[in-house]
Subunit: 261 residues, 2 copies
């Protein structure tokens, strides 16, 4: 038993898609979320910059007395997870390993991956996938504008749609049936992607895979909590006009936000 | 005579399109430029937030001992120029008045305006245009993603093109011949806009109109400088990976950047 909260961070609002899955799957846990809106977007930052941001985020969450930290951000996972794990004793979970373990069970011949430029460039998804499934074909597509458009609350605008149309081309041509949403902002586009592809596609939500992985981890380490009423605190490193709207859309609740740093 | 520099600010790199015109038209002046990258984008901020950012920017430029300040940002001009003029003694020039005075000479029946959401919502362009040309028809189009796409260095990407296609629809249908680029980021899209419209269009660059206006102002006030070698200093409120590339594309020079705040 460990009644402390689960800490989560992302570059902005994307990680809320992970938080919402965590809340469903872990109804007796509390959560502290940090959206590093001050430093958004991570996707176009250097590895060194992302590591610096991730360290700050982890230290903030540790100061909030969390028992485990989830990097609810594809870019931060791909660039900083190894270093953070080495530097800190607290358990840290990224979104790549849980997702790749899940895919292994599907026994696929090919898999699509969409993510930010930095994440695709790092090859982190492909490396992790090939480690467990050496014969699978990986079709990568960097989507540099998607997280930014979502963060500005424009995911469902005409601009969002026309950018999705562009990014989906390599998958549509080959009718790729399974695509990893390798950035936690992307579940916001789920419907639009399905409409654009027009065939039956399985969009793999890293929030879901990460939440299941986290649940198993808490049980195996015997550090679950048993709160009757789930609580969450959402911190931002910079107040943005759009965050509250997006957060309410994703979480479906009236939220109190706290600005920090 | 006044040998002090001309101060310029923008939310990011857009104002560099104004700086480049100022440098051409005023070869004996020095410049201090501040890109408020920390608070980018202004287009989705409230009026109050934009005023606060503008005040900080003006105070930084005053601390750099400039003789005049140019708001090289459509959004900041539309939301904060009046208040800044009241608050400070230093002459402050926005991009709207110089552009509208220029258009008056063209004697047009209709004019297109593209700008950020905040600027279009404020009605600042339309109000100023109607003041001088009460019978002209103004066709406004808010382009919420354009400044952001430019700031991320993606103006010439396929994403940039498909967003431009969307935003140009109201002008293409009516074959609008004169369009004000009401955000200083937009000259970066000049070629793409011309290609998308496909007819002979006059895109009014606020950098050019503002530079001419500034030159006339310096002469009328007798505060020109006479430097043999033009110097400029470019400050950012936050270092971004793309800024240097974009700046070099716009200014065509190898630049030293300084991070402040």
């Amino acid at each position: 038993m460990d009644s402390r909260a689960i800490g989560i961070f992302d570059s902005g609002c994307g990680g809320l898609t992970v938080l919402t899955k965590l809340k469903q799957i872990l109804p007796n846990e509390n959560f502290v979320y940090l959206g590093d809106t001050l430093n958004f977007p991570y996707g176009s930052k250097t590895k060194e910059e992302i590591i610096q941001c991730s360290i700050k985020n982890v230290e903030f969450l540790i100061s909030q007395n969390v028992k485990i930290i989830i990097i609810a951000c594809g870019t931060a996972t791909s660039q900083s997870l190894d270093i953070l794990k080495e530097k800190y004793d607290i358990p840290i979970i990224g979104i790549i390993e849980p997702t790749v373990s899940y895919i292994k069970e599907l026994d696929l011949k090919e898999i699509g991956v969409i993510a930010t430029e930095g994440t695709i460039r790092s090859g982190a998804w492909e490396k992790e996938i090939k480690k467990l499934m050496p014969n699978i074909e990986v079709i990568n597509k960097a989507c540099p504008m998607l997280a930014t458009i979502a963060e500005e609350g424009k995911a469902k605008s005409k601009e969002g749609r026309c950018v999705i149309k562009e990014y989906m081309k390599p998958f549509k041509e080959r009718r790729v049936k399974n695509i990893i949403l390798g950035c936690t902002h992307y579940p916001i586009y789920e419907e639009i992607i399905k409409e654009e592809l027009g065939y039956d596609v399985n969009l793999i939500n890293t929030g879901e895979t990460t939440a299941i992985f986290t649940k198993n981890f808490l049980h195996s380490e015997n550090i679950t909590a048993n709160h009757q009423k789930q609580r969450e605190k959402i911190y931002l490193s910079k107040n943005t006009k759009e965050f509250k709207n997006i957060a309410q859309n994703i979480l479906g609740e009236n939220l109190a936000l706290f600005v920090t740093l």
